[in-house]
Symmetry: C2
Subunit: 368 residues, 2 copies
């Protein structure tokens, strides 16, 4: 019997409900493949702020580091929303664990389940064949640069104006771009062999450096992979115009945040998309959606993105590809049979095919 | 007879062809409304680099300042693409004239012409009723903050790594946010009374300041206008999910660049969208699309966005609303009659309804 330690981070909103279904599936897979997953919960996000005043308690980071993989649900909610620079924010827990574990690579695959293709607001012929992977740099850029707000008494600066000033810094170093570029090229090799590198090189210096480094790595180390540059504004357009043309899309942290959500929405089923955050040691897996505080505690949340983040964990952390394929097949079958959570149902869904969070988890387990 | 001086900036690629059609329409409107528009061309962008080595010659900025309005076509092209920080870039001409004229407000209306609704990759029921206005801050943020690239010999910084480093700075001052917020609220008052303010307040300090200031201005000065906050990643999703729900969307420079192009693409007809850049004196009008170097010089470019930027000029700079309405009506009629440029045609367009750039300009004039 193999054994792995899993650090569970339920977080906020629907987090605790959906992570329970992820664990259910993990246990079922473990039983089938003679593997024991020992899961232990730790605090993160708003829940951690409420309990101990810190969105990322040291004990949580330690537990995550010690584990073989981390399964996160979601953080945040209006309860903790504030513009006070000094107040603790749930998101700081997420950013802190990304940085603390060195999770510089965020993989966000975007695919369409046939049974749910109708949910897209895009025309069927446009989304047909969409299968792309956003590779988002996750520990650099505006998210982690120096930031400050202050009151400028003097009116320093060219315009001589007094008042508040604030800045954030978008910074990258050579090695940060090199390593994320390699991740993108590696991913492309296992896929259709094409990398679209997204930047704003006609304006930003970080983008010009990004573009040079991506090309150098590509030409020297991955001559078999095709590289294309696309400006971020144009990418925002082309994802809507011709989403099926993209294979791997690599970009810096903030652009990746925006474009990965845009790409996710193209499927029409955000509740189906998972992501993997990889670094040099422990990796973290989470749904691409948020904590959905409006439906928290009602038992109606969709656990499938969480379950598919377990699929990614098996694949990327444990090399259990067969088990991972099982999960994907089980989810596909459940959907093909017409089962839907509230967010996935449409006018044609019969009432008796709508299930809750736990019900959906049970259905997936029954198909494993 | 009224008289206005117009500074024409044809720029690069299809710029010269389309601006000629804009001028044709301007002259026709002038004749009808007893107004003389004296147009004078100046150099900008790649054309200016080639002629005098500078994407924004001093003479151009002077001519723009002296004019009553500026009509720009497009700048840029692969000929001048470079990642060399020291090389002149066409885009620097555009950024320079925005800064030089103090054009801090960029208005990008997104509407759908009925005749072209089918061009959208979104489902008809999703784009029905789309009528939104992106108000983009245009002279601040990452576009104008301090930026630098250097080789770090020492490996300074926490990670001790040597190599290249680059940074860009996202900076805002209180008055910059106040004035763009007012522009958004004013626009909303003339429309459906709702402002969506887009930021990334869960991560960026500039966003937290932005959010506070927008709310203060809104509550104190525009209590009749509804304010909603939306994170930039969520906005990228909602523009695809429910574009018709947006009225005015206000955001900082880089987010506005990305989201306005995304919103434009939703219509499926980028060749139909114009924008106005306003400051405290001379305003500038331009198509939302680029210089399309691949079709330059062939006489097949679509001049309608340029013509609609003339419409915006008449409206915002000269208060000639009747004349502006004329242009919009003329364009609508031409499209309703089935005339199309190459970019607008589809499988159902008869070959004899496809016209070139000048042909389209003539058709619009004939409907004025
Ligand atoms: C919650 C937030 C800080 C986070 C991000 O912006 O990275 C989220 O949007 C994401 O994409 O994982
Ligand atoms: C050409 C480029 C610098 C410009 C910008 O990013 O502002 C363009 O994309 C635009 O949106 O007007």
């Amino acid at each position: 019997t193999k054994q792995y330690d899993i650090c569970l981070l339920p977080g906020d909103g629907i987090g605790p409900e959906i992570i329970a279904e992820g664990v259910k599936v993990l246990d079922a897979v473990g039983a089938k493949y003679d593997t024991r997953f020992d899961c232990k919960e730790s605090l993160i996000g708003g829940a951690a702020i409420d309990a101990v005043g810190d969105p990322l308690p040291a004990a949580t980071l330690d537990a995550a580091k010690a584990a073989d993989a981390v399964l996160l649900a979601a953080v945040g909610g209006p309860k903790w929303d504030t513009t006070d620079p000094a107040a603790p924010r749930p998101e700081a827990g997420l950013l802190g664990i990304r940085k603390g574990l060195g999770l510089y690579t965020n993989l966000r695959p975007v695919q369409i389940f046939d049974a749910l293709a109708g949910a897209s607001t895009l025309k069927p012929e446009v989304i047909e064949g969409v299968d792309l992977m956003i590779v988002r740099e996750l520990t650099g850029g505006l998210y982690f640069g120096k930031r400050e707000r202050f009151y400028d008494e003097e009116g320093a600066g060219t315009d001589g104006a007094r008042g508040q000033r604030a800045y954030d810094t978008l910074e990258y170093r050579e090695y940060e771009v090199e390593r994320i570029a390699r991740q993108a090229f590696e991913a492309a090799r296992k896929r259709r062999g094409k990398v679209t590198s997204v930047d704003k090189a006609n304006v930003l210096e970080t983008s010009r450096m990004w573009r040079e480094i991506v090309h150098r790595i590509g030409e020297q180390e991955y001559p078999d992979v095709q590289i294309e540059d696309l400006l971020v504004d144009n990418t925002a357009m082309q994802l809507i115009n011709r989403p099926a043309d993209f294979d791997v899309v690599v970009t810096e942290n903030m652009f990746g945040d925006i474009l990965s959500d845009e790409a996710a929405q193209i499927t029409g089923s955000l509740g189906m998309l998972a992501s993997a955050s990889l670094g040099d040691s422990t990796a973290l897996y989470e749904p691409s959606h948020g904590s959905a505080p409006d439906i928290a505690g009602k038992g109606i949340a969709n656990p499938l993105a969480q379950i598919l983040s377990v699929e990614m964990m098996l694949r990327y952390s444990f090399g259990m590809n067969e088990a991972a394929n099982d999960i994907r097949r089980a989810v596909t079958e459940v959907l093909d049979e017409g089962w839907r959570t509230g967010d996935l149902k449409d006018a044609a869904t019969p009432a008796d095919k709508v299930v809750g969070c736990a019900g959906m988890g049970d259905l997936v387990v029954s198909h494993l």
